[in-house]
């Protein structure tokens, strides 16, 4: 494994693996850095029934297929945790927890999300001693016992039903009025019919009780403000997710107030060559199929970006001739006329310069690299170094006087 790559993908959930498939197929030297299990959150999903082409499959099985697919295109995988990044230059730098350093031209951030904690008294202290976040992992430790589930989304209700296979009773604490759950209708109907499921409405859990192990929860009724205690041996928290983007807080990447990364249609962040896909970006629907879609888009966008950088480096920065780097605006006639004028003049003078045209709108990374704001702007480069620049429209005579 080399430390220098075309593309580095952080995270190996469905978004990261899809990006890896597209990156590998495009013959980019692609490295996936992943701290946990391959498949991310999907790896904890027992049953997936809405990924096209698979009527029913387990999360781990589906992710194994994704992984094998990526490996078939030569993608490399590294188990590690990225703790620091430097995206300020063209070569992006990554530092792992073990202190290894990796470099890539482009990066796709697919680090996903993690369960939100309520941060109520007892939650952290009794974690693993009755406080749990994963039913697949821990449900069976509560055989014949009383369990409380906090939350009413898809995960809370579906996992809650799974826990009833082991527990004596599952009590779901719901914020809303009686009969209202946040989960899908099919699951809600099933849950209401499940004899082992009970619901406490208009309520939230304010404390987990117990010394060595959980022995109950304190529940607050939000309408009346009354507090009550409920005996139980287990509490499962399913109160939503938070993006795993903490390690990027000093990277300069724009995020919203919750830490989700902002991207455009091409999955581009505000930093050229840096893309964000899957659950860690702001989006409407967080499913395997949309994660896969994100990954594909980002990898194609990254491929084009890398291609542009490579072609720029070879034809401009390593050019024997001096280069006129012309930033123009394809939508402005004057800008286009100026472009032909410059080419014509250069032709008349025996092509002393190599002209490299850059559309200001589509090659943002070059505009940023040279801090160009207006079109037309001409930057004169000699051996890749800027010698001078001119902004705005210029008449032929003046151009001639300046350059020749």
């Amino acid at each position: 494994m080399s430390n220098i790559n075309d593309l580095i993908i952080i995270g190996a959930g469905p978004a990261g693996l899809s990006a890896a498939i597209y990156g590998g197929r495009a013959k980019l030297k692609t490295l996936v850095i992943n701290k946990g299990s391959i498949g991310g959150l999907v790896d904890t999903t027992r049953e997936i029934v809405n990924y096209p082409g698979y009527i029913q499959i387990s999360g781990p099985d589906l992710m194994k297929d994704f992984e094998n697919h990526a490996k078939s295109f030569g993608v490399e995988f590294l188990k590690g945790e990225v703790v620091n990044v430097d995206f300020s230059r063209e070569n992006k730098i990554f530092i792992t927890k073990k202190g290894e350093e990796f470099i890539a031209k482009a990066v796709i951030i697919a680090s996903g999300s993690e369960p939100r904690q309520l941060n109520i008294p007892g939650e952290k202290r009794l974690r693993g001693s009755g406080v749990a976040y994963c039913a697949t992992c821990d449900a069976e430790f509560f055989e014949g016992e009383d369990v409380v589930v906090i939350g009413s989304g898809d995960q809370a209700i579906e996992e809650g039903m799974y826990i009833t296979k082991f527990a004596k009773k599952v009590t779901v604490i719901v914020l809303h009025d009686e009969g209202i759950l946040d989960c899908n209708k099919v699951s809600a109907e099933k849950a209401f019919k499940n004899e082992k499921m009970e619901f406490v409405w208009n309520s939230t859990v304010v404390e987990v009780l117990g010394d060595e192990n959980v022995d109950g929860v304190r529940i607050k009724n939000l309408k009346t403000g009354t507090l009550s205690e409920l005996k139980c041996q287990g509490v499962f928290f399913f109160v939503g997710m938070v993006p795993s983007t903490g390690y990027l807080k000093d990277s300069g990447i724009k995020m919203n107030e919750k830490g989700y990364i902002l991207v455009n249609d091409q999955m581009e962040t505000n930093i050229p060559g840096v893309y964000a896909v899957g659950d860690n970006r702001v989006k409407y629907l967080r499913q395997v199929v949309t994660a896969a879609s994100d990954g594909a888009i980002a990898a194609v966008a990254a491929e084009r970006y890398i291609e542009e950088i490579n072609s720029f480096n070879s034809s401009v920065l390593q050019s024997d001739k001096k280069v006129l780097l012309l930033f123009f605006n394809a939508y402005l006639t004057e800008s286009l006329e100026f472009s032909s004028l410059l080419e014509k003049l250069n032709g008349e003078k025996g092509n002393d310069y190599k002209i490299f045209k850059v559309d200001l709108a589509s090659k943002k990374f070059l505009a940023e690299k040279y801090a160009v704001k207006t079109a037309p702007t001409v930057v004169v480069l000699d051996q890749g170094k800027e010698m001078m620049r001119f902004e705005g429209l210029t008449e032929k005579e003046k151009l001639e006087a300046r350059f020749y």
Binding site: K35, G36, S37, L41, D43, G128, S129, C137, F141
Partner: protein
């Protein structure tokens, strides 16, 4: 370096008969947090070669062991010395927490 797996008999032998200072992670195959914690222990193990043992119990295969310690979830790392239980750390723990606990067990 992968951790040696213990069944009930080996557990008795290593923890109580040999009474060596060691840790045992109780884990299972389909638990994603375990898959993050286990590799961390595998990396840590060589640094404690000959000083502190690192072992693994699969709770699905050795149900009686997790019942004995009335565990409520995986992963859990249990610490032992002189055949005595010296406490545990649960859930998604990092290297520092494990090393701290090892130092505590060895120092006591």
């Amino acid at each position: 370096m992968s951790l040696q797996q213990l069944d009930t008999n080996l557990f008795e032998e290593i923890i109580y008969d040999n009474a060596e200072p060691c840790l045992v992670i109780f884990s299972r195959k389909n638990c994603h947090v375990c898959k993050e914690v286990l590799p961390m222990l595998e990396e840590l193990k060589p640094r404690y070669e000959g000083k502190f043992g690192f072992y693994y119990v699969d709770v699905e295969e050795s149900k009686n062991l997790f019942e004995r310690f009335s565990l409520k979830g995986v992963p859990q790392i249990l610490f032992f010395n002189h055949g005595m239980y010296k406490g545990k750390v649960a859930g998604k723990v990092d290297e520092d927490q494990v090393e701290e606990k090892i130092a505590e067990v060895l120092g006591a």
